[in-house]
């Protein structure tokens, strides 16, 4: 009797579970479809506007002017001196700007992380406001400040420091100053966020054990801040490589960077294959740097983009 009922129960339970499982699976499938429906308009737009055209450009870059399959669009990067010069300039600017951002941004982020909450949030306004001001506006401001008849030159001449205006804009230094100003918040914000997570108790313990302020900073704080610094550096460097507005306006035609070269080849010379090849290489370098960074630091880096 008891064995029989147990068997009955088991069978019933089994059937019930089976029926339930089916219903649950169907429900989950329906739920997935609903979620996909919510996502589909956004995914469609991103694919149509970003993925498809880039794929198309990549396809174009594989053919030469006569329409034959060839690597000539890529080979010219190594053969033509002007392309090599563009790459050298781009990487030079990227290294200088990234270095300047680290030199200016690290002390600022460090100070912000040490300030009391209220004071820090007031100072942060000074970082976030330029961040949200149009790149054009800030480039224009630097043109006004740095050009031949600009503010710095007229001040220096009025003060009698110089008699001839210095050439500060329309050359490499103008581009570097403008880009450093625009990209600095991209370094400061993630760096500040990561410095805030450093436990002050670690520093206090170090000082308790007899380390001076310098040793505490060098041996405890600095190593702990490195992941945040690295994410800021990668963002700034990658943004430098594809930067267009500031070099185009402040380079005076002398500083030709990667993105400008792409614009010139496609708009001016209508050479889509060559422009597309430049874009493909830029994208590959960008993704490779970001991938390398994520690989080095684990998944920690994924959040940095949400700062803007």
């Amino acid at each position: 009797m008891s064995a029989q009922s147990a068997l009955l129960e088991e069978t019933a339970g089994g059937v019930g579970e089976h029926l339930n499982a089916q219903a649950l699976r169907a429900d989950a499938r329906r739920e997935s479809l609903r979620l996909l429906a919510l996502l589909s308009p956004s995914l469609f737009l991103v694919c149509a506007i970003i993925i498809v055209p880039i794929g198309w450009l990549f396809w174009l870059s594989l053919f030469d002017e006569t329409g034959a399959l060839s690597a000539s669009n890529y080979a010219r990067f190594f053969e033509q001196a002007s392309y090599i010069k563009t790459f050298v300039t781009t990487f030079k600017v990227a290294f200088i700007v990234t270095g300047a951002c680290v030199l200016l941004g690290y002390p600022l982020a460090y100070m912000l992380s040490q300030l009391p909450r209220r004071a820090a949030s007031i100072c942060l306004i000074f970082v976030i406001l330029p961040f949200w001001t149009s790149v054009l506006v800030r480039t224009y401001a630097w043109l006004v400040i740095l050009q031949r008849k600009g503010l710095i030159n007229s001040w220096l001449i009025d003060l009698g420091v110089i008699s001839q205006p210095l050439s500060l804009a329309n050359n490499l230094s103008g581009v570097v100053v403008g880009m450093t100003h625009i990209l600095l918040p991209f370094l400061v914000l993630p760096l500040y966020a990561s410095m805030k997570t450093i436990d002050t108790d670690c520093l206090r313990a170090g000082m308790n054990l007899g380390a001076g302020p310098v040793a505490t900073f060098r041996q405890i704080f600095f190593p702990l801040s490195l992941p945040g610094l690295a994410s800021g550096v990668v963002i700034v460097f990658v943004l430098c490589l594809g930067f267009f507005v500031t070099p185009a306006l402040m380079g005076g035609g002398k500083v030709v960077m990667w993105a400008m070269r792409m614009e010139q080849t496609t708009s001016l010379y209508s050479n889509w294959g060559a422009g597309a090849a430049l874009g493909v290489v830029l994208l590959v370098v960008t993704l490779a740097l970001l991938g390398l960074f994520r690989w080095l630091l684990g998944a920690r880096a994924t959040g940095v983009w949400s700062s803007r």
């Binding site: 996502l39 055209p53 880039i54 460090y110 506006v137 008849k149 302020p213 993105a259 970001l290 983009w305």
Partner: protein, 264 residues
């Protein structure tokens, strides 16, 4: 938390001085432009010797600048109207985390933050040339929506992360339909994130330069495109007046976002 370290403010004076200079470096250009926009002179003098509103007059009276501004405002508003619901829906779906390719989807939606914008500009121009969307408002709105989507998605997602989805389940178990449950229970609690996302979408579209350079023109020339061209030719103080308006816009939108952010 701090201040307890045995380092005095005095010992840190150099740090404060250096950081102060960096903050000055960050803010000074905007301040200089705002002040110079009220100058009376065609020359770029600082501080200006005479004050006037003549550059604002030039801006508001110029048909070209006014048209460009109207185009930018229209495109930005439409971008907000498209990107906010799409981004919110996408964030809702991603937040459930049950889809198999959730990571890939997330990556795709935020791709425009990582891909060099010049490549997006050229690609969009190339595509639009085939389907006749260059120099159209529709084309601009679509392109800007794609640029704004990741910001809306990330902002709404961060709002949803601090919201307990079980509340919506409770509402549904009590008989509310899906849409009613979202609209009456979830939405009121994440509305500040949605508003912030919408503001970010607006400013992204309004300030967008590179893609607009390629795909706008003629009657749909955006304000940023016209400014870019004007800066290439010569530096007109009118641009200082326009820049000041853009700076004020950023400040206002940022302040609103800040107020909403504090409430959420």
């Amino acid at each position: 938390m701090n201040g307890s370290l045995p380092i005095s403010h005095w010992q840190r004076l150099w740090l404060y001085a250096l950081s102060g200079l960096v903050l000055l470096f960050l803010i000074a250009p905007s301040v200089i432009i705002v002040i110079m926009s009220f100058s009376d002179s065609t020359l770029l003098q600082f501080p200006p010797r005479q004050w006037s509103l003549r550059w604002y007059q030039t801006y508001f009276q110029s048909l070209e600048w006014r048209d460009a501004t109207m185009v930018s405002v229209k495109v930005a508003l439409m971008t907000v109207l498209v990107a906010t619901p799409l981004g919110t829906a996408a964030a809702y779906a991603i937040n459930r985390g049950t889809l198999r390719f959730n990571g890939t989807i997330n990556g795709l939606l935020t791709a425009s933050l990582i891909i060099p914008v010049i490549l997006i500009g050229i690609g969009t121009f190339f595509l639009y040339a085939r389907i006749g969307l260059n120099n159209t408002l529709t084309g601009l709105v679509i392109a800007h929506t794609v640029q704004a989507l990741p910001l809306v998605v990330l902002t709404v997602l961060s709002g949803l992360r601090s919201y307990d989805m079980n509340q919506e389940r409770v509402a549904r178990s009590l008989g509310a339909g899906r849409i009613a449950a979202f609209w009456q229970v979830t939405m009121p609690q994440i509305r500040f994130s949605i508003v912030s996302g919408a503001l970010f979408a607006f400013i992204t579209s309004f300030d967008e330069v590179v893609v607009s350079l390629f795909i706008s023109g003629g009657e749909t020339t955006t304000l940023t495109r016209r400014m870019f061209n004007a800066l290439r030719d010569q530096i007109d103080p009118t641009i200082a007046a326009i820049s000041t308006c853009l700076i004020v816009l950023s400040v206002v939108l940022l302040a609103i976002a800040q107020v909403f952010g504090r409430r959420s």
